[in-house]
Amino acid sequence: MKQFNFENVTDHLTGLNLDGYKFPIDRRDFIIGGSAIFAGFLIPGSSSIAANSDGKDHAQVNAWVSIHANGDVIIVSPNAEMGQGTMTGIPLLAAEELDADWSRVTVKQVGPVSKEFGNPLFGGIIHTVASLTTAGLFDNVRLAGAQARKMLLDQASKQWNVPASKLKTENGYVYHGSKKISYGDVVKASGNVKNPPKVTLADLKKPNEYKLVGRDIPRVDIPAKVDGSAEFGLDVQIPGMIHASIIRAPMHGAKPKKITDDNDAELKSKVSVIKLDYGVAVVSADIADVLEARDGIEVEWDFPSVGRKYDSVRSLKDYVKVSEDSSVKGIAWPGKAHVPWAPAVKGNQKDYDAKMKSDDFKSISASYTTEHTYHAQMEPMNATAKVSPDGKSAEIWAPTQAVSVSTFAAAGVLKTSPQNIKLNTTFLGGGFGRRAQVDYVVDAVILSKITKKVVKVVWSREDDLAAGAFKPSTAVNLSAALGKDGSIEAWKHRTVAESPLRYYAKRLLGKNGEDILVMSGAEQLNYTMPNQIAEHINREQGTRLAAWRGIGHGPNRFATECFVDEIALSLGKDPAEYRLYLANNPRIKRVIKKVMEMADWGKSKPGLAQGIAYSDYNGSHSAGVAEISLNEKTGKIRVHRYFIAVDAGLPLIPDNVRAQIESGVIYGISSALTEKVSHAEGIVQQSNFHDYEVMRMADVPEINIEILPFGDRPSAVGELGLPTTAPAIANAVHKMTGKRVRQMPMNSETILEALKA
């Protein structure tokens, strides 16, 4: 048996230092006739177009755009395509400013090879999280397209000897009056050009000049996703590749103590068993042998004392008590950490205390809980790595949201520079936040280094769940002092939860330890509340945690939007009208009014009941109405229809916005009704889709979506469908039964218990 103890592997997951990182290629030269700098796979911009040219005779205008003499335009997509459409949406913005013929555009997935691809909202790294790719890259990618267009105009102006101001562009051609020349022909006739022309934001189009943006452009990745040809991480095949599966530590920090291999000699001869710091790897050329051998191996573990004590049921009860005990102080949440443009939350503890005690105000409070939930992305974790013989560089193929961080982590493992890591981002079979971590990349790099072979690491579904990194479980206590007219004069929000960022990305914590993954949605920026306090009480449990779709907005909005309903009803007001009264901004009022109209608010059919909720998400707004029935004998809730009005700024591809909202709504309802991970003695109790139930087709409601465009910039979409779902359902349950359910998931058990209360 081979022994390998990799020191402090997890430090690479938690202590990544991005300072001083230099991108391997930063090439701004405008080259004609040079060779392409890109690595990656090609997706035709429309299904009618054949493969791209051979890379000669093209103008590489900037990192984003190259124009070929044959008329092809290649635009890169640096972010993870996990179904959200970034591979279409980002290149579309460059094509728009370029006035390209979209049918001649080819999209190229690239790794972190140029700093131009970095997202300014994430310190310039490529990181596909928080639904902020489009918002973050919106200016840079449009400027890249505009620069390419200006270059073509300058060249055509020289070739025709006409001032550039007399020329215009349309659909892949430069025009002077009725005379025209294709972009490809301009490139063909151009010589070497040293510097691309300068462009500024003032050169960009106004929304009313858009020709591509705002239309239902089909997604470029879809054709490959209906015929089996799309390459996901698990599909990567590299010559000489071997397979590995890791019997993973059942909790963070557990180490293998004793390994018993009961396989027969023949099987043993075909596989290697490698002891790692955090598991036992089984490696062989043939995946079937790996999986068979793995079943014959028993591992005993040394458990860490903290994680071993964790019991999710007991802890959640404790969280509720702590949330209600104001003597336990928390970390103040300023409310603007994740929305730089939003006003900070203003809180005043003295004023809060006075109002809560005063007879002039009515005080109210309630506590809400949520359980751990699992991402359950359809493609289990995996990655493939090829470490060079000297162990100082590597090529990696990975389905990862953490494009840049994967290279930092691999460099950390190999004690080399990130410049020596080449990352190929494959399609992702779902991400939802789980793939913002890089544990699977680290697996592959370590095993390739040890075996000196190309290694594909495959997690089973059971591995993926047992070593999942979950949404933390939460207890939220809310309290408020209400004025005579129903105004909210003081408000306090206390969330008790274990911090995911402390587990996997300490560098992202705020100055005082603020964790956006727990606290997003604990601020009330869109309701009038002159005095609001929000705080996080952290509880270290040693569990594995991650960002989960919607981050803090899921649990926090479940609490706050139920609580707003409770307040409205305690005042004898209609919950929708009360929200309109609280709303401090016309955009909020607009989505609420719209969804009331869509759902015919207040007029549901016999046997059905409606509940409403509002939520923001990273600059976007949504209001949802759930229409449910409830079987009081079984406790089963059925959502029949879900109505949602969304304002995500400027919708780039409206049909894709709808698809993302459908997705978020279903993900949200699924988690609201059934999803729950539990831990006993630190060990995850669920193992596959039979005991971790996600929504299937028969339970899916009719979903009605209205998009309300706003302004000239897009904002977050991918998570926006989720936060309203759970509170809207809980509010509908109250409407139907008069009983308040303050626990997620709202499964039969929870509902039957609430009905008894």
Binding site: P380, A659, E662
Partner: protein, 155 residues
């Protein structure tokens, strides 16, 4: 050596009778359109046809399919001798922009093709019942229903 027929091509595969067909298809025959989702018969990502019937390849062994005709997503259009290379379901899937991450979609399409073979005009409820075996975590369910209805109308 076990002889099977995949997408109308005879193949001899070295492996034990009890080897999972899913990994044979994916790693030995390099037909990676068939996906590994749960390995336990719970998600449907690995759905293929054996003699025209939708089955879960993760729950099927090499021995089970000896001498039988297997169809995977890569061969769906060809085995039904469709001229322009796309099955009506695949066309409908593109028209309705069904896939998001896409990982479950080979399985969804193979399952739906099995449905249409038996019932060329399924009702909405019949579709929902038959397709309930297949998970889509991205939540493309409503588009799948619309696409199946479209394919059954136009196919």
């Amino acid at each position: 050596m076990i002889n099977i027929s995949v997408n109308k091509v005879p193949r001899s595969v070295r492996g034990k009778e009890d080897t999972s067909l899913l990994w044979v298809l994916r790693d030995k025959l390099k037909l990676s359109g068939t996906k590994f989702g749960c390995g336990a018969g719970l998600c449907g990502a690995c759905t293929i046809h054996v003699n025209g019937e939708p089955v879960r390849s993760c729950q099927t062994t090499l021995g089970d399919v000896e001498g039988k005709e297997i169809t995977t997503i890569e061969g769906l259009a060809a085995t039904e001798s469709l001229e322009n290379g796309q099955h009506p379901l695949q066309k409908a899937w593109v028209a309705e922009q069904v896939p998001q991450c896409g990982y479950c979609q080979s399985g969804q399409i193979m399952r739906a093709a099995g449905l249409l073979k038996k019932n060329d005009r399924p009702s909405r409820d019949e579709i929902k019942e038959f397709m309930n075996t297949n998970i889509c975590r991205c939540g493309t369910y409503n588009r799948i229903v619309t696409a199946i209805e479209k394919a059954s109308r136009e196919g």
